[in-house]
């Protein structure tokens, strides 16, 4: 008697004692080996749930390796729209013999385990529901080609899971069509594999676990996209003209996506030529150097990197700051340094980016929290860089950049591009003079000219720290101090232009939370948990940029305790806030998550609840 029929028998006997249904609220973890082609199957499974109208997110936990190491894809379906990582695994699809035992043991009690029959896992636990499937055998029936077989196995588990969960076949088929677009042969083959899974599940497996997908209408106008693609699109619609990059996970896909879209949408219709330049540089020093050269000559230029690249860019970052040249750097943060966890997420570059370089530097930092903000901030960063003639960093992270997020559609940008204070030949004619580093408007932002401007007044010489207001070489103490003071004023002016924090004040709350970036998604859920389960009301400030505007200090003074939640070891933002709020700094508490996995709500809730219990006891 096969395992499957045994399960079915047991299930038969237990009908009527089925646990209560759990609808549209669970997480699926698919454990595979990287390089096995499971990516598209996982996307199809996720998208088919999305097409059922149920909010989803998809996260890939992958190794720094091309093939052969374990990788996990987690899909979270949640009717309330919570899309942060969920720690508990409700449905485990165990396809990797190396990790199968551990995967099963880690699933929560009551979980559903779909697995390759030959792994013999059913004796491991008695508090989960096992669904053994002879994937290899089924695939062998479908094709004789060994390579294809491997790929089909993936689609077969999609079929099995979709049947057990009640995901409609139509939705799965639609998701396959989306995934394989015009490749008719691939579409057919994959549908065939899904059907094998569905047929097998229908005939051999009896549903016992409580997890169900039921149609909703919460995704009708939504898209699913990763943050890097969103940023690439944002930059394209933000009028970016020069892009340089040096490949590094998790930022490479940002520039690769740019190549894809720019070659489609940014070709001059008249001449068939590119209205952009995308250059793979020899390293990150060169990548930023090119951006600075391009910015100096008037292009809207950007590069994307991750921590190691950011470190290499340090010297140039200071040059851009002191010479006042627009530049945009996306840092898709990851765990650093070097080998080990480069494919895991982190928010560990906040301090490094804020002060990057040597000497008196501080920068404008944008902190997108969603894919929609990746799109919007990509354009905003280019505007700010040109407006303030400085280097602007956008700190995303691996979780945001590479994972799949549900979002509202992006809005078409209607504001004209902000090209900043650039004097043309006509302006120079009219003004009769030009001093490159003179603060004419009192906002700390001087005027500039672009090389190639056909006017004898236009030229000036760009050099690092030693220059006076006329851009003349100077080592005079007054000139230097004058320069750095003006740069500080410019930084101050920027506070009126950078994205404001999103603030939700609960009048009766004595507890505040501050977070940024992807941590937002855990906070969204955690605040509900704190309210509903722990009876703790919280206010929330989501920071979207640096330098701090007055809002942060005000928020802190309004609350007795403020938990700064972030994904790094030392609480980098919390420390910056402490400096900002001075005497109120004892109110700041750190809630930190830094395992390399995306932060989850439960962790935040338990940490804040425990801290609150302690704090309230003290009072």
């Amino acid at each position: 008697m096969s395992n499957a029929t045994l399960t079915a028998r047991v299930a038969d006997a237990e009908i009527g004692r089925r646990p209560e249904e759990i609808v549209n609220d669970f997480s699926i973890q698919v454990a595979t080996v990287n390089g096995s082609g499971s990516q598209s199957a996982n996307s199809v499974l996720m998208r088919s749930i999305f097409l059922m109208g149920v909010p989803v997110s998809g996260k890939n936990i992958f190794p720094s390796n091309i093939a052969g190491l374990p990788t996990w894809f987690t899909i979270r379906a949640n009717k309330d729209g919570y899309t942060a990582r969920r720690k508990e695994v409700d449905i485990c699809i165990a396809m990797n013999p190396e990790t199968a035992r551990e995967d099963v043991l880690k699933a929560r009690p009551g979980a559903a385990i779909i697995y390759e029959e030959s792994f013999n896992l059913s004796s491991l636990r008695s508090d989960v529901f096992f669904y053994p499937v002879p994937f290899a055998k089924l695939a062998a029936q479908a094709t004789t080609e060994p390579k294809l077989r491997k790929l089909l196995v993936n689609m077969i588990y999609v079929g099995v899971a979709s049947h057990l969960l009640g995901v409609g076949r139509d939705e799965v088929v639609a998701a396959i069509q989306k995934q394989f677009k015009s490749k008719a042969k691939a579409v057919d083959l994959n549908i065939k594999a899904v059907d094998l899974g569905i047929d097998y599940a229908r005939a051999q497996l009896l549903k016992k676990d409580p997890f169900q997908i039921q149609r909703m209408n919460k995704t009708a106008d939504k898209i699913i996209i990763d943050g890097n693609s969103a940023a690439a699109l944002g930059a394209m619609f933000g009028g970016c003209t020069v892009v340089t990059w040096y490949p590094i996970t998790p930022s490479s896909s940002l520039c690769e996506t740019m190549i894809e879209y720019f070659s489609q949408y940014r070709i001059d219709p008249k001449t068939g030529k590119a209205t952009f330049a995308i250059v793979q540089a020899e390293d990150e020093l060169a990548a930023l150097g090119m951006v600075i050269g391009a910015g100096w000559a008037g292009a809207r230029a950007m590069t994307a990197t991750s921590g190691p690249g950011l470190s290499l860019m340090a010297e140039f970052a200071g040059l851009a700051y002191f010479t006042e040249i627009p530049a945009v750097v996306w840092d898709i943060q990851r765990v650093g340094p070097s080998t080990g966890l480069p494919t895991r997420t982190s928010q560990g570059d906040v301090t490094a980016a804020f002060y990057l370089s040597h000497g008196d530097t501080k920068h404008i930092i944008l902190l997108p929290g969603s894919v929609k903000e990746c799109f919007e901030f990509a354009g905003a960063a280019l505007d700010l860089a040109e407006r303030f003639q400085t280097i602007v960093f956008v700190l995303s992270d691996l979780d945001l950049g590479m994972n799949n997020w549900m979002s509202d559609r992006f809005d078409y940008p209607r504001k004209p591009l902000d090209r900043g204070k650039v004097l043309s030949k006509e302006d120079l004619e009219r003004l009769g003079k030009f001093e490159r580093y003179l603060d004419v408007d009192g906002d700390g932002i001087p005027f500039r000219t672009l090389p190639g401007t056909p006017h004898p007044l236009a030229a000036y010489f760009t050099r690092g720290s030693g220059h006076n207001e006329r851009a003349g070489y100077s080592e005079r103490p007054e000139d230097y101090q004058n320069l750095v003071d003006r740069l500080a004023r410019k930084h101050e002016t920027a506070k009126q232009f950078i994205p404001k924090p999103v603030i939700d004040i609960q009048p009766q709350a004595s507890v505040g939370i501050i977070a940024y970036g992807t941590t937002d998604w855990a906070i969204l859920e955690s605040r509900d948990q704190l309210r509903n389960e722990k009876k703790i009301e919280t206010s929330y400030l989501r920071l979207r940029s640096l330098p701090f505007t007055g809002d942060v200090a005000e928020f802190v003074t309004r609350h007795e305790r403020v938990y700064v939640v972030e994904q790094n070891r030392d609480g980098q933002l919390a420390d910056l806030i402490r400096l900002e709020v001075g005497p109120h700094s004892p109110r700041i508490r750190k809630v930190l998550h830094y395992s390399g996995l995306p932060i989850d709500a439960r962790t935040v809730t338990e940490m804040i609840a425990a801290a609150e219990t302690a704090a309230r006891k003290e009072q």
Partner: protein, 348 residues
């Protein structure tokens, strides 16, 4: 064309009607007699005589005594004194932003061959439109005379330290890596340097000029192979070189086989009069072999070492539009709303 340079008399104004003064910059602050100042003068002369609009020029440099010099020529053009060894990237970016600029970069042997070797070789590979002048003195002038990576084996510092490491020959790198205009010259040889700079102006891709430029303060002593005396004694001319700008009539009244000419991208010509040997600068293996031999013989071989008029520059390679990217209007760099809708549909 107001006036063309005549071979004899001194030119008062160039074809744009501009005097030589327009091509000068601030007064130099380098040591009196520094080779770099000699090169600056030849740059001024070449740009003046060629008649380049100053506003079209963009000047770049890294860090070093040599890298200070862009402030000393063509004052009415934009200049950028970047960071040590990273000028190639900055110049590359600027050319991407505005391909209509005429770019000239000045670097030192330390700036290029030591800290900057990485960016330098990639600049050569890309064939970025840029005149790249290495003011090569074999030492770091600005940090007071340490060896650079172009110092010859056996050459001696003032303090007696002898270099034992093999030098990097930047021209060999250039030829190997696809640079389309490679020349070597000597700051003490204006007759050769000026036409080579003019040729570089007329050329479209990277034009590399490795110019021996003695550091009179730290590397001009007995035992140095980059001193004025040593260079003068060991210079070996490949040919006698002349430049015929596109706006001048070419004369062809020379005997068969005595002159080689290459036509440059703007229609100007470099005319090389034969000296001791037949030399064809478009022959890569010959160029490399001769340079290698010059090392063995301890000669400073100067002239146009290599030229490739066919090679596409990087801007052409990536199919960029003719206008500067920097100043394209919004509607040409922001796709339509319909495009966004179309893309959003893909992510549904």
């Amino acid at each position: 064309m107001s006036s063309a340079p005549s071979s004899g008399g001194v030119l008062k104004a160039n074809r744009l009607g501009l005097p030589m003064a327009e091509y000068k910059g601030l007064d130099s602050t380098l040591c009196a007699g520094c080779g770099h100042d000699g090169i600056t003068s030849q740059i001024v002369k070449a740009f003046f005589e060629y008649g380049v609009e100053p506003y079209r020029v963009a000047k770049f440099s890294g860090i070093g005594c040599s890298s200070k010099t862009p402030a000393y020529f063509i004052g009415n053009s934009h200049g950028f004194n970047a960071v040590h060894g990273r000028m190639p990237a900055v110049a590359t970016g600027a050319m991407l932003a505005n391909r209509t600029l005429l770019s000239i970069g000045v670097s030192g042997d330390g700036d290029t061959a030591s800290i900057g070797i990485g960016q330098f070789v990639h600049l050569l590979r890309r064939n970025i439109p840029l005149i790249y002048i290495i003011e090569n003195n074999g030492v770091y002038g600005l940090t007071k005379g340490q060896f650079s990576a172009t110092a010859d084996v056996g050459s001696k510092l003032k303090n007696g330290i002898v270099n034992e490491l093999p030098p990097i020959d930047c021209c060999v790198l250039g030829i190997e890596l696809g640079c389309s205009y490679v020349a070597r010259s000597f700051a003490g040889d204006p007759k050769q340097l000026v036409p080579l700079i003019k040729g570089a102006i007329a050329h479209k891709g990277t034009a590399l000029l490795d110019v021996i430029s003695p550091c009179v303060t730290f590397n001009n002593h007995e035992g140095s192979t980059k001193s004025f005396k040593y260079a003068k004694e060991h210079e070996e001319l490949l040919h006698e070189i002349g430049f015929v700008p596109f706006f001048e009539q070419i004369q062809t009244d020379y005997p068969e086989g005595t002159v080689k000419e290459v036509e440059l991208h703007d229609g100007s010509h470099l005319r090389m009069r034969k000296l001791d040997r037949d030399y064809d600068p478009t022959n890569k293996p010959q160029a490399l072999q001769l340079i290698r031999k010059s090392h063995e013989d301890g000669e400073l071989l100067t002239g146009l070492l290599f030229y490739d008029g066919e090679k596409k520059d990087f801007i052409e390679e990536i199919n960029m539009i003719e206008e500067p990217l920097a100043t394209l209007p919004d509607e040409r760099v922001r796709p339509s709303e319909q495009a966004l809708n179309e893309i959003m549909e893909e992510f549904r």
